[in-house]
Symmetry: C2
DNA sequence: CGGCATCCGAGTAGATACTG
DNA sequence: CAGTATCTACTCGGATGCCG
């Protein structure tokens, strides 16, 4: 017993969903036309994920605040990611034209919706990490 | 009306989950100690995702079969990803010592479990892609 | 057929310094 | 404070050729 058993039925269901998703898409432009890939690009990114998670934890953070939380990120990358995340609508950016300026970042509703998915995924990952690590250990005979 | 509304309650729930997840983790080694990140690494990868999805669609595929399906992937990367996916337990690799050899890849139960998560995420992405693309269009004034 | 070894080019991250 | 600019270093993907 390693993980919960996957029934044949579930497999078929998955296959059907996949068929609906890209069964009709020509293979050749699967990654060109795929907007999903595009959206998923955010998941892919280590820093973006951390930024979003920290903003789910601390509702509002400023640039240097984020920089402290997201340990190890450089100015450049943080600023890039923030711009991208704001541009894609995950974050809301509010600027207060004081002196010195104050800029606050927080999750948008869309960002929160995304965060929920991200948390689900993370929970799954935590539940199964031992499985992966176990497998990895077993194959440590290169 | 852009996306389903996120209630305050949901936000609080997310925050609590996050707290449980890494509230106790020291920031400094968040990405060192984080096994989740590790597991998530697979999601991050464009090719791995495609491989897993195609194997959810076609139950069994061989090297060159995969290469045809996962259009545009190079031998090197395919072989790397396969090795990694097999090593992490997502895929099962069966070799038939015929001449010429035949090697078949299929999803393990763990892989199927992962695929379900992946599909969920993809469905979410599809549902929200317009939102992202819309946002992106709005911010096209750099 | 099912890969692995090698080389090369492009993109990306990181560190540091500087500006409104 | 909230970034931008620049330079370097390194990784990663793609193409090609070879081997059991």
């Amino acid at each position: 017993m390693e993980i919960e058993t996957i029934t044949e039925n579930q497999k078929v269901t998955s296959a059907k969903k996949l068929k609906k998703m890209f069964g009709h898409v020509d293979l050749r432009d699967a990654d060109l036309s795929c907007p999903v890939r595009d959206v998923l690009a955010v998941v892919s990114d280590k820093w973006s994920t951390l930024i979003i998670m920290y903003l789910g934890y601390y509702p509002v953070l400023r640039f240097n605040g984020l920089k402290k939380k997201v340990y190890g990120i450089s100015n450049k990358v943080l600023s890039e990611r923030l711009k991208q995340l704001v541009g894609d609508g995950y974050l809301k950016r509010t600027m207060y034209p004081e002196v010195p300026v104050r800029v606050e970042y927080e999750l948008s509703d869309f960002g929160h919706s995304y965060l929920e998915k991200l948390i689900e995924l993370t929970e799954w990952a935590q539940k199964h990490k031992d499985c992966v690590l176990g497998n990895r250990a077993k194959y440590r005979n290169t």
